[in-house]
């Protein structure tokens, strides 16, 4: 079992966004692993370990695209327990989903993983396209917005519960396949492999000190798009950014009576 997980660095989503001219101002931004990608790493780790403390039975490879600095985020995934990293050089603030998907596709063709796991979207671009594009380019089956994954005992398929309008759809995919994960995938019993019935804590694991030390010795292979045979032309250009329309603050009411009165006569929503 070899799982390729993508992990993009994104500006810390808790920080206030600044706009400068026609672009988002990233000067001084603190970068973190895209939260959904972190959930994907956690999912991959759970799928390749027997249980809490049990031995590993597979390889987790973390792929990121970005400048040299992005190796920090790859390293933090390695500290969680992933085995090795790949960093493809690129301007992560300028690449569009199509270009990212072409690069990921080339790496999948090179690495030939059993499963490709990705976060459902990055929290900066919010495009929610790359997993579906990669699956489409490769002609692989896909399951997006996973909240539950079960690996079959013969490791030939996964059954993915995915969040759809109106409930959870369970989709069985032969491997190799592409799966994108949603938040609920990191609930304690959301990921199961055929080897053990381990339960986990809520959320992605923190890197242990031992993990951080071990990550220093793990390899991060550096590649570029040309070496992967990908030529990049943008399919979607960002020509500018603007602040969203301001919502003006309203008024404070003094009582429930006044609130109901306002909702009836002024807002007319009751």
């Amino acid at each position: 079992m070899k799982i390729l997980v993508t992990a993009k660095r994104v500006p810390d989503p808790e920080q206030k966004v600044k706009i400068k001219g026609d672009a988002v101002d990233l000067a001084g931004a603190n970068f973190v692993v895209n939260p959904f990608d972190e959930y994907a790493v956690e999912t991959a780790l759970r799928l390749t370990e027997k249980g809490s403390g049990g031995e590993r039975s597979g390889e987790v490879v973390v792929l990121s695209i970005g400048p040299k600095d992005a190796s920090q985020q790859v390293r933090s995934c390695l500290a969680m327990g992933a085995d090795r990293g790949i960093l493809v050089a690129g301007d992560d603030t300028a690449l569009d989903s199509e270009q990212v998907a072409r690069i990921v596709t080339a790496v999948v063709q090179k690495e030939k993983p059993t499963l490709v796991l990705m976060g459902k979207q990055t929290v900066d671009g919010d495009a929610n396209q790359v997993p579906q594009l990669v699956a489409g380019y490769l002609g692989l089956p896909q399951a997006c917005f996973a909240c539950d994954v079960e690996l079959a005992s013969d490791q030939a398929s996964v059954t993915v519960g995915r969040e759809v309008d109106g409930g959870t759809e369970f989709k069985k995919l032969p491997l190799p396949a592409v799966v994108s994960v949603d938040l609920r995938i990191v609930m304690p019993n959301a990921v199961r492999n055929a080897q053990g019935g381990a339960t986990y804590g809520d959320g992605p694991r923190y890197a242990s000190l031992k993990g951080i030390m071990a990550a220093k010795k793990k390899t991060i292979e550096e590649l570029d798009a040309a070496a992967l045979g990908v030529s990049l032309t943008p399919a979607v250009k960002t020509v500018g950014v603007e602040a969203p329309p301001e919502r003006k603050a309203g008024i404070k009411v003094e009582s429930v009576d006044q609130l109901i009165e306002k909702l009836r006569t002024e807002a007319k929503v009751l």
Binding site: S97, T238, V239, V241, A249, I251, K252, V253, A267, L270
Partner: protein, 324 residues
């Protein structure tokens, strides 16, 4: 300039209302371009009802692809059909609504067409230029698709549903071609059964934050939601704390809602949550902390402990409803 293909959704043979938002976008785009046909597409099994319903929304024509193996939606089987119809109909833009199906399907269609895609589009700037929110709605990006074909998913909350035109266009059928599942299969659907409307469709949403303290306290919010025919929502913090299931989560990482009335109770107003509800028409905030950021976006703020005011609010809403 080519034609515009609108991928509509149907459920059990009836048109899904969410598809009407994509029609509004397509009409606006047609207006901007000044040329091109609006072509609707319905895919599934026994979809003639949905196709004739779609024909009533002022389109040039509707294509219906009806096949036994397309009864259940799967990206693997639907994407090639959409791509094939787009090419056959001379479309240079394919659009649909950002429902869970649209989000799953449309990028795969873009892959098959070699098209650039703009997600969650909120505005039209030109024939292939659009507005779309990024960074949890804190930034609006202006993007331009440079490929010959373009794919667009439309942010449901930013486009009013199209109104029926009062007339009907022609419905044509098209062949599904060879349908391959690539070995994937849908095993089952665990439907969420609730008497309340779905969060993303509800006209009223009553949400609670971690300040609700305990799962049973959400019954106060449910009571208000039920009085107003609304849905119950929650913040990520409330979901993470186990007060309510995660599928009630409103916010960038959860659901995006834009009801007529959003009532935020014991919610501080973290950026991530605001991203999911800022589009609401009227926002009411009830919070004991007068400095809570939620008050900066609320139309009506009430500084109070929910324990003190929710029972009163419930009783008085009951009286209002009884008098109507």
């Amino acid at each position: 300039m080519g034609n515009i293909l609108i991928v509509a959704e149907q459920k059990a043979g009836a048109l899904r209302s969410a598809s009407l938002n994509a029609i509004s976008f397509a009409r606006k785009l047609r207006e901007t371009r000044g040329a091109g046909d609006l072509i609707g597409l319905v895919i599934g099994q026994n979809v003639s009802g949905a196709a004739s319903e779609l024909a009533g929304y002022g389109l040039t024509k509707v294509i219906s692809v009806d096949h036994a193996s397309l009864g259940g939606y799967m990206a693997e089987t639907y994407a090639p059909v959409v791509a094939q119809v787009a090419k056959a109909q001379g479309a240079d833009l394919v659009c649909g609504t950002s429902t869970s199906m649209g989000k799953d399907l449309l990028p795969r269609v873009a892959a098959l067409l070699g098209a650039g895609m703009a997600s969650e589009v909120s505005g039209v700037l030109g024939p292939k230029s659009f507005r779309r929110p990024m960074l949890a709605g804190n930034v609006v990006a202006k993007v331009e698709v440079t490929t010959a074909m373009a794919v667009v998913s439309v942010r449901q909350t930013e486009w009013a549903p199209a109104a029926a035109s009062g007339s009907s266009c022609a419905v044509e059928t098209a062949d599904a071609g060879a349908v391959s599942t690539l070995g994937a299969q849908v095993v089952k659907l665990e439907a969420v059964t609730s008497a309340r409307p779905d969060l993303t469709d509800a006209k009223v949403v009553v949400s609670g934050g971690r300040g609700m303290k305990a799962a049973e306290n959400f019954k106060h919010l449910e009571a208000i939601a039920d009085l107003l025919g609304g849905a119950v929502g929650a913040t990520r913090a409330a979901c993470d704390a186990g007060l309510v299931p995660n599928d009630l989560q409103v916010g960038q990482t959860g659901k995006v809602v834009a009801p007529n009335l959003y009532v935020a109770v014991a919610i501080s107003g973290a950026i991530q949550h605001l991203a999911g509800m800022k589009g609401s028409k009227v926002i009411v905030a009830i919070n004991k902390d007068p400095e809570a950021p939620i008050f900066q976006v609320a139309d009506y703020g009430l500084v109070a402990k929910w324990e003190d005011v929710l029972p009163e609010l419930t009783e008085k809403l009951k009286a209002v409803k009884a008098s109507q």
